[in-house]
């Protein structure tokens, strides 16, 4: 099992490094046609792997950055910054390569599961640490919306200054979440270590 996991993770990392070497840092960076083709392929893969809605929301996330890239690219082009005259062409390449590299890495990382990480050849103590962290994530995620709702009802945190009241609310949320998770992690750690010691004694 361990060998398969190492092989799988190795292949994923080789694919990621190859992509970045070929299209971001390497020989195909300058070709706008290849970048356009890569962008179309990666977006198609994204739709197949997730959904059309997911692909659209990701493009919406990238759009403001792509627009600001274009604005600064145009400014640099007209200024001929550092004596360069290819700012516009370079900006257009970046407008395609930024979303495609973002989506490509996102898709590949989804092939790595939590179980793969647990099956890596690591010590039992680290494994317990990882399990505790995952359980803390799940508990924290559930409790966060409840804490947030509760804080919205708290009159002391309502102020005419919206930024101030938001900062106060989220500061309280961070403290509440930290105090809650600290106790939960201590308990989970104690239980897991007891269980591990008990099983170890039974097997002995």
């Amino acid at each position: 099992m361990n060998n398969w996991v190492i092989l799988k993770l190795g292949i994923i990392f080789i694919i990621i490094i190859s992509f970045f070497w070929l299209f971001v840092f390497g020989p195909f960076y300058d070709s706008i046609i290849i970048q356009l083709a890569v962008f179309a392929l990666v977006m198609g893969w994204n739709v197949l792997r997730f959904s059309l809605r997911e692909a659209i929301s990701l493009l919406k996330f990238c759009l403001p950055f792509v627009l600001s890239l274009l604005v600064f690219g145009l400014i640099f082009h007209f200024m001929q910054l550092f004596g360069r005259t290819d700012w516009l062409e370079d900006t257009l390449i970046k407008c395609f390569i930024f979303p495609s590299s973002l989506v490509f890495l996102k898709i590949l990382l989804t092939y790595i599961s939590y179980l793969d990480i647990l099956n890596l050849p690591i010590s039992m103590e680290k494994r317990i640490g990882l399990i505790t962290m995952k359980s803390a994530f799940q508990k924290g995620e559930k409790i966060l919306s409840r804490f947030s709702w509760y804080l919205n009802t708290y009159s002391d945190l309502q102020s005419s200054n919206r930024i101030k009241s938001q900062l106060q609310k989220y500061a309280c949320l961070i403290i509440a979440l930290y105090l809650y998770l600290y106790e939960e992690i201590e308990n989970s750690n104690r239980l897991l270590k007891n269980r591990y010691l008990h099983l170890y004694e039974v097997n002995e």
Partner: protein, 165 residues
Amino acid sequence: MKNIKTAFVALIVVVALITLWIRIPLPSRGYFNFGDVAVVFSGLVLGSLARKRNFWWGAGAGGIGSALADIIGGYGMFAPITLIAKGLEGGFCALASSRHKFGRWVLLLLGGAAMVACYFIAEVLMPNFGLQGAVSEIIPNLIQAGGGIAGGVLAFTAYKKIVRD
């Protein structure tokens, strides 16, 4: 609340969850997230707990928590830069924890400045961002750093009162 290893794991989760959950959209790329508030808070808390290597505890919680949020949120491309940038911010905040007044504020501002500078340098070096992308990110990152320091110090001051009582 004295076990630094438990606090470290708890704060990694706090930083990741707060970064993922609370986002306010910005006109430039992405959003202002309260993750920076959590990074500053975790640095200050771990700095007050650690007897030695304050910097590395703060850097670990801030960097790993924020990089995890990038990976879980689907923005894994930013994870390596985030690990270093937020790590530096958290590390400086942990160092600030043991200082008072002027020294503390200088270290907190250094942390924020290190985060902004780190993103800028890394983005200039990455061809898919370039100078155009890096320049457009400066102002959002400065807002993020300033908000993070204000909120983080507020949270830490309140936390110290709770722990003391």
